[in-house]
Symmetry: C2
């Protein structure tokens, strides 16, 4: 399949790219500042240009999202807005516009995270964005067929612990390769409306 | 208790006002165009004025939210943004600013809805907003103590069926008084971080 992978250069994106390439797929990596295609997907006009440049697609996978982490008492109005925009609305926009560009039997695979269900300190804005994405995926799945849509909701990655361990005390990490496997499941499988929790 | 009730004039708000008043609480009703206090809570500056006018509070309860309902293929970028703003960010802002105005042992009770879990046609934007609110409540609950926060997540009301029945085929409706009872539970109870599903 020909797959657009947004956020291809991050820890998760790199693992997803490898997993999809190993399965024989053609992966078009998208980054904010580099990659096969360059786009800031928080800008709807940039998303339009991205799809125009990308050509025919069998699937879209997202492995990126911007969220602000701050203690609840320090999160500003703008922090919540930018997190909902940077993680939820940006992914919704990729689906909204992408439905016209992806093959009729194609799929979308979005990303949320464990904070939907299991909050951590300083993560209230990220939790909200993740909750929005998961509920959106369940809803979009009933109107999108024959296209499919799922979301991968991982816990913290072992590879990210050097930076993020203090935020996840006592919470088990998973190898990022396990999350990448869930993307393969979403892209190649037949389910829709699923939240693949990688915990 | 002295309770600020946002959205006091709607079907749900009226029932919540009655239920809280019957329990002996002082209810200060807030509406966009009428009520004890008038405020458009989608505007953070209006929220600041609202809290300044309201004086000391023991609880804040929200029974209002604006969402756009349209088939998935017709929902625009602006529809998603206005729904996340009108139903999720507005409630988050009431909590964000309210934490400084509500008593240390006070509470917040927000509103989501069944679309978080059980989507309907034309409801993808509303689902996203509801999912954001429920995840935010779980997250805020671990940083807000001793203040508490819960969310009431009702299905469609029997009283709303004349207008909304076509959107909820075969889904059981509940009397709005049942949802109002959940507000009493949130305000007078001791739990926090709960999603009270009224189904």
């Amino acid at each position: 399949m020909r797959i657009l992978l947004v956020g291809a250069s991050g820890t998760l994106g790199g693992a997803v790219r490898s997993a999809l390439a190993e399965r024989g797929h053609e992966v078009i990596g998208v980054g904010r500042s580099g990659g096969d295609l360059v786009a800031d997907v928080t800008d709807p006009e940039a998303v339009a240009r991205l799809y125009a440049e990308a050509g025919p697609l069998d699937a879209v996978a997202v492995a990126a999202g911007h969220a602000v982490f701050r203690p609840l008492g320090e999160l500003s109005t703008a922090d919540y807005a930018s997190t909902l925009h940077g993680k939820a609305l940006s992914q919704i926009e990729l689906v909204r516009q992408g439905a016209r560009h992806v093959a009729p039997t194609g799929s979308f695979t979005l990303v949320s995270g464990i904070l939907t269900d299991e909050p951590i300190r300083a993560g209230a804005a990220a939790s909200a964005a993740n909750g929005a994405i998961e509920a959106f995926v369940r809803a979009a799945a009933i109107e999108l067929p024959p296209q499919r849509i799922n979301v991968v909701s991982p816990t913290v990655f072992e590879e990210s612990l050097p930076a993020y361990a203090p935020f996840f005390p006592g919470m088990e990490a998973v190898p990022v390769a396990r999350a990448a496997t869930a993307y393969v499941r979403s892209v190649e499988g037949a389910q829709t409306g699923q939240v693949y929790r990688v915990r």
